[in-house]
């Protein structure tokens, strides 16, 4: 590679690349592309979704939501780690630890039934929140995008139902064997 081309690359493309990389909006769109929830959406649709999302940063041990509170938003982890836990009178059971790219609280996109578990940041965590009524509002403005998101949500709930059924099916013979 000639010295002139190297200089040109250095002067022209690097700043442009830096600018592209440093644009938070573009970063968010790029990030959303990696989330299975939105993988069917085009760049324009992802931009529309990104526009209605709220970025929130949680400190270590800070609660994101608590069990029993009405759900209002789905959260995506931009950066960091969170724990999903259930608290009982004397103990706390950790159900899962979620990291960058994962999402949680998706049932809140359907209705405001109470959260079934606590979500707590295990380290400094940046999240993107999608509020239920903003997604509902999107039905009027960009019905195709909203439909695709709801479809992903339905698919995900269907998968979970199948897994739960499988678990129940596996548990019943085990119980029967135990009883017998």
């Amino acid at each position: 590679m000639s010295a002139r081309k190297l200089v040109a690359d250095k002067l022209l493309w690097e700043p442009l690349g830096r600018w592209k990389r440093s644009s938070p909006e573009l970063d968010r769109v790029q990030f959303l592309k990696t989330v299975p929830f939105f993988d069917q959406l085009s760049n324009r649709q992802l931009k529309n979704v990104s526009d209605i999302m709220f970025e929130r940063t949680y400190e270590v041990d800070e609660s994101i939501f608590e069990e029993g509170q009405p759900g209002a938003a789905l959260f995506l982890i931009l950066e960091g780690k969170i724990a999903i836990e259930i608290s009982r009178e004397t103990s706390t059971t950790r159900l899962a630890v979620l990291e960058t790219g994962a999402f949680f609280g998706e049932m809140a996109l359907l209705d405001d039934t109470p959260r079934s578990a606590n979500a707590r940041a295990l380290e400094r965590t940046r999240t993107l929140a999608l509020y239920r009524n903003d997604l509902n509002g999107m039905i009027q403005r960009d019905a195709q995008t909203a439909c695709q998101i709801y479809r992903s949500l339905a698919g995900m709930i269907g998968d979970r139902l199948r897994s739960t059924n499988e678990l129940v099916r596996m548990k019943i013979p085990a119980d029967e064997a135990g009883l017998g």
Partner: protein
């Protein structure tokens, strides 16, 4: 001391510093905001009106979104359409707001017609037969009529001006000879009751509507009017810039909310937006329906379309003031009906001489329609406010901000009531209180 303890201590210090900083900042912000609100209070009303219009028309903006058209251009187009509609409405209204000559003519006609009706009522017209109630009516209404005559009477300057206009003055055609005859007849109006002490100052009024407005001192009137006009330029600007907003303002305020209240604040804002939006848009639609009904009714009664529209617009707008709006509509309608001449009702069988009675009936029908059909249909389950609160709010609003205060009293009560109820409900749901 271990590294861990040192870190804990530093964190504690940081927390205290953060609290002190937040409290100081909040106190300074409150003081500055209070000072600015007091100093710039003239801007409050235009800002409220601009923001309210933007809020009211937001669903229209969202409903008619054209994907290929830039957002800003869409907002400007919708602003142009709304602006044109408002311009035509106010232009129609302005044409029927009387100028100096029309005010004098209006007073003369109203005084003459009222006296004529009164004389008919108490059978003082030639050929009319008195009945048993006549003395009672005379005793009760006589002093009232005297007071009305006193307030509608022209002073010497006004009389000279009227005579000038009668002959054609200031580039205007001469006043109809019939009205000049009324003027002469009015000069011979005698008192109906034993003369009472005249009030210290004669009320200079152009009619019942204008009586409510308190005029500022003449010396400062010009300057304050100029200030007010320049402040009102803000209203369309606020409307346009809030129209450009694509949720950025909401996001900014939400970003200030601590994480603990994030979902709560989203829910509260949304519920408030929904409840207040429903109420305000419902009220606007209700006012529009009332105005339309009145306009149509007045046209059917034979009142010229322009005047019917003007009365309809004013009455429709004032319908936003519960109870009082209907009374003002009644006063405007009946006053016009009393001075109207050569009216030919479109409904066959109506006697043009009883126009005032028909207008009263029309306003009662409109009021009943409003209560039975419009309100349940348009407002539905929107916020209900107790009648006593309504009356207190209207009086309070009028004391603070005059007519605007009366107009905004109920929406303010609704906003506060909804905000408090929603806030407490959500705080409980989120187990914060």
């Amino acid at each position: 001391m271990s590294n861990g303890d040192d870190f804990e201590e530093k964190e504690q210090e940081r927390k205290v510093r953060r609290k002190v900083f937040h409290l100081t900042f909040a106190a300074l912000a409150l003081i500055t905001a209070g000072f600015l609100i007091w100093k710039l209070r003239i801007l409050i009303l235009p800002i409220i009106v601009g923001a309210l219009l933007a809020f009211l028309f937001r669903p229209v903006k969202e409903r008619f979104k054209v994907r290929w058209l830039p957002h800003e251009l869409q907002v400007l187009c919708s602003f142009a359409v709304i602006g044109l509609a408002l311009f035509f409405a106010f232009n129609t209204l302005r044409k029927h707001i009387p100028d100096e000559e029309q005010k004098l003519e209006f007073k003369v006609r109203l005084k003459y017609k009222l006296n004529e009706k009164y004389r008919q009522l108490v059978a003082k017209m030639p050929g009319a037969k008195p009945n048993a109630l006549t003395p009672l009516i005379e005793k009760e209404l006589g002093p009232v009529m005297d007071k009305i005559n006193l307030s509608l009477g022209l002073n010497s300057e006004e009389r000279d001006l009227f005579l000038k206009y009668a002959a054609g003055y200031n580039g205007k055609p001469p006043i109809e000879s019939k009205f000049v005859d009324y003027f002469r007849a009015n000069r011979n109006t005698r008192e109906y009751a034993i003369p009472e002490k005249a009030p210290a100052r004669a009320v200079s009024s152009t009619g019942p509507v204008a009586a409510a407005a308190v005029q500022p001192p003449a010396a400062t009137e010009g300057a304050s009017l100029e200030n007010k006009l320049s402040a009102w330029i803000l209203a369309p600007l606020i409307f346009i810039f809030l129209g450009f907003d694509n949720g950025q303002i909401r996001r900014f305020f939400i970003s200030l909310v601590p994480n603990r209240y994030f979902e709560l604040s989203l829910t509260v804002l949304d519920r408030l937006d929904d409840a207040i939006g429903k109420y305000l848009r419902g009220t606007l639609t209700e006012c529009l329906l009332v105005g339309l009904t009145l306009t149509l009714g007045l046209i059917l009664l034979g009142i010229p379309a322009g005047i019917a529209v003007a009365i309809g617009v004013v009455s429709g707008l004032l319908n936003a003031i519960p109870y009082l709006g209907t009374v003002i509509a009644l006063l405007i309608g009946v006053t016009y009906a009393l001075i109207a001449e050569n009216v030919r009702p479109l409904i066959p069988g109506l006697n043009p001489n009883d126009l005032a009675l028909y207008v009263v009936i029309l306003i009662i029908i409109t009021h009943v329609l409003d209560d039975v059909v419009f309100q349940p249909f348009v407002l539905g389950s929107a916020v209900n406010v107790h009648p006593l609160v309504v009356i207190i709010a209207i009086i309070g609003g009028s004391l603070i901000m005059g007519l605007w205060g009366m107009l905004f009293a109920i929406p303010t009560v609704v906003v506060v009531k909804t905000a408090v109820a929603t806030f407490f409900k959500e705080l409980k749901d989120y187990r914060i209180i």
